[in-house]
C-alpha cells in the first residue's frame, strides 16, 4: 500500500519511526521542538517523544556537531540538524577534522553512529550562504557517508538507513523539494546506503543526477531526441561507481549534472571514475554540468542563471551526439 506524502513529511516520518524503534536515538538541533524545524521536517516529534528525545539546542553548529560526536561515542545515536547545509562550514573543525577522523585515528575503537542532516541546494532565493550544495566538501573527507534524497520515497528510506548505520552520515535533503509529493509505502522500509538507483532506463545516454537536478534532468530528457537513462547516485560517498559504469557501458555516453560548483565538484569526480576505468565504453567525451564558478546569487533570475536549467542539461545531452 502506498500513499502520497511530501518530502518533509517523509523526513519527519523517518525520524519518528526511528525514535520509536530505538530508544538510543535522540534528535537535536535548533528549533526542532514546538517550532518543528524551518521546513516542517520535525513537526510533531517533540509533542510525541518529549524533551529527552527531541531537544532544542543553543545556536551553534560547533556545539551541535561536536556534541553529536561525543554522544555517539558514548553509545547513543544522535540525529542532529543543521538548519542549512552551508552551516557545515561554521562547524568546520567538527565536520571536517573531528567526526570523520576520530574512528580512523582510534584504530577503529571509536564508533560514531551519528547522522547530521541539513537542507541543501539553491532555488528559494536564500542567497550565497544558505543555498550551497556541500556534498563535494564532505565527499572529499574520507569517513563521512554522504547521502542525498531526490524523492519522498528516497528521503524516508535513506534517512532511516542513515540513522541505523554505524558510520557518521551526512544526509542532505534539498530545500526546493520540501513540498514535492510522491508515493511512499505505508509499511516500513529502508533503502540501502552506498547504492545508486537506475531511475529511468534508456539506451543512448546516461545522465547522473540527484535532488532537484534529477527532476530537471527528467524534463531535459523529454526535450531531446535521445533515449535517456537516469541514474541517481543516492550516496555520494562512498560512491557506487559500478552502477554508473554499468549504465555507461550500455549507453556509451555520460552526462553528470549536479548543484555543486563545477570546479572540483562531484561531476568531475564521477566523470573521472568512468574515464579512468571504463574509457573504452565511451563513444563521446563525458559532459559535466554544475554551478559555474560563482556563489549563489539572491535575485531569482540571477539564481536561475547559476543553476543548471533543463535547457542547459538538454544542450549538454545533445552535445554528445
Amino acid at each position: 500500500m502506498t500513499r502520497e506524502i511530501t518530502y518533509v513529511q517523509a523526513i519527519a516520518e523517518a525520524i519518528d519511526e526511528e525514535l520509536q524503534r530505538d530508544e538510543d536515538v535522540v534528535l537535536f538541533g535548533e528549533d526542532v521542538e514546538e517550532f518543528g524545524g524551518n521546513f516542517g521536517e520535525t513537526e510533531g516529534l517533540y509533542e510525541k517523544h518529549g524533551r529527552d528525545r527531541v531537544r532544542n539546542t543553543p545556536l551553534s553548529e560547533i556545539g551541535i556537531a561536536g556534541m553529536a560526536l561525543g554522544a555517539a561515542v558514548g553509545g547513543i545515536r544522535p540525529v542532529a540538524e543543521l538548519q542549512f547545509a552551508d552551516f557545515a562550514a561554521t562547524a568546520g573543525d567538527e565536520v571536517f577534522n573531528q567526526i570523520p577522523k576520530q574512528p580512523y585515528v582510534s584504530g577503529g575503537q571509536i564508533e560514531a553512529p551519528l547522522t547530521i542532516f541539513a537542507p541543501s541546494g539553491a532555488g528559494i532565493g536564500a542567497g550565497a550562504q544558505h543555498s550551497q550544495s556541500v556534498h563535494s566538501w564532505l565527499g572529499n573527507v574520507p569517513g563521512w557517508v554522504v547521502v542525498t534524497a531526490t524523492t519522498p520515497y528516497d528521503a524516508k528510506g535513506l534517512f532511516k538507513s542513515a540513522i541505523r548505520d554505524d558510520n557518521p552520515v551526512f544526509f542532505l535533503p534539498h530545500k526546493m523539494l520540501s513540498e514535492t509529493k510522491g508515493e511512499v509505502p505505508e509499511e516500513e522500509y529502508t533503502l540501502p546506503l552506498g547504492e545508486a538507483a537506475v531511475e529511468e532506463e534508456g539506451e543512448d545516454v546516461t545522465v547522473v543526477a540527484t535532488q532537484l537536478m534529477f527532476h530537471r534532468a527528467k524534463e531535459a530528457a523529454a526535450q531531446v531526441d535521445a533515449d535517456v537513462e537516469i541514474v541517481n547516485p543516492r550516496t555520494f560517498a562512498p560512491l557506487d561507481t559500478e552502477t554508473i559504469a554499468e549504465s555507461v557501458r550500455k549507453t556509451g555516453r555520460l552526462v553528470v549534472v549536479d548543484e555543486t560548483v563545477e570546479r572540483y565538484g562531484t561531476q568531475g569526480h564521477i566523470a573521472n571514475e568512468i574515464v579512468e576505468n571504463d574509457f573504452f565504453s565511451l563513444d563521446a567525451p563525458p559532459k559535466t554540468i554544475g554551478v559555474k564558478e560563482i556563489p549563489i546569487p539572491l535575485s531569482p533570475p540571477l539564481e536561475q542563471e547559476a543553476l543548471p536549467s533543463a535547457d542547459r542539461i538538454a544542450d549538454g545531452i545533445e552535445s554528445l551526439f
Binding site: D24, V26, D52, R55, T57, P58, S60, I62, G63, A65, G66, M67, A68, L69, G70, A71, A72, V73, G74, G75, I76, P78, D93, E94, N97, Q98, Q102, P103, Y104, V105, S106, G107, G108, Q109, I110, E111, P142, G143, V145, S161, A162, R164, D165, D166, N167, T190, L191, P192, L193, G194, E195, T235, P238
Partner: protein
Amino acid sequence: MTQKVSVDDELARDFLEEMLRIDVFEEETKERFGEGEIPGFVHLSGGHEGSHVGMGAAMDDDDWLAVGGARLIGQYIAKGVPLPEIMAELYGRVGGSNEGHGGQMHVSDVDRRLYGHAATIGSGQNPAVGLGLAEEMKGTDNVAVTTIGDGGTSRGSFHTALVFAAYWDLPVVFVIENNEWAISTPAESLSPDRLSDYGIPHNMPTESIDGSDVEEVYHTVSEAIERARSGEGPTVIESRVVRLVPHFEGDKETYRDEEAYERAKEEKDPIENYRERLLENGVITEAELEDMVANIEAEVEEAVEFARESPEPEPEAAYEHVYKTPLYGQGDRR
C-alpha cells in the same frame, strides 16, 4: 615549614608513584624520540604531572576523559592505559592502542573510557559534552572530564562547550591546565585574572587552584565530579601549573625569561615537591622510593621493548577503519 599530607599514606604513595611513572616514561620517550625511533612530534608533560595524576585519581574507571591541550602522554597514563600500548602507539606500531593510526596526539582507549584527543586544540570539549549527554540519557552517574590548556580557551569551541553543558546542566568537568604559555604566547595577556572565570557567565562553580599540588587537584576535581555525578551540573577548574619542558621537543624556547624559568623549576616542580613532602612526613622512606623508581624503570624498559618488537603496520592497513562496512542495507555487518 613542612606541608601536611591530606590523604591516606597509600593514596599519597600512589600519587607519587604515578607522577614518577609519567616522568620516567617521558624521559625515555624523549630519548627514543631523540634517537629517531618515534616519528612526528612529541609534547611532554613536565610540570603538569601533579595536575594529571590528581585528576586521574579523582575519576572512576567509568568516567570519560577527553584530553585537550598539548600535554597528552601523562594524561593517558593517568587514565590507566598500559605503558606498552602507549609506547607502541608513539612508535606507530601495530601493538599500539590505535594500531598506529593515531600516534602521540590521538591515543585512545575506549574500554578504559579514554575518548582520546582532538589534535586541533579546543575541539575535544564539545564531544565531552556529548559524552556527558550520553551518560545522562543512559541513566548512569558517570561524568566526562575534559582538559584544555590556557591557549585552547581562546577557541570559540571551548566557549560553545560551556554554553551547551550549562544549557542542560550536563555532568562535565572542564579542567584548564594553565601553564602560562600557548607555545610562545603568554597567558597573562588573556583578560581574565583566572581562566576559570570563563565559567562565571554560565553560572557554573569555578575554582582556580595550584595545579602543581597533586592533592589540591585531587580534592578539587573530586568535588567537581561529585557535583556532576549528583546532577548538579558542570564545573570549570583552572589548574595553574608550570611548563618545565619545551612546547615540543626541539622548541628552542627563545621566548622564555631564563630567570623566571629557573625559579619555576625550583619552586613548582610537582614531583620534587611531593617527594620532599612525603619524605618529611614519613610517608615514604628513601629506600622505598628507590625501589619504586627501580620498578618503574623496569616497567618503562618493558614498554620500550614491546614497542620495538611490535611490527610496523602493513601498508594496506592504511585503508582500514575509514568506514564500518557494509553500510546499512548492504548486508550483514562483518
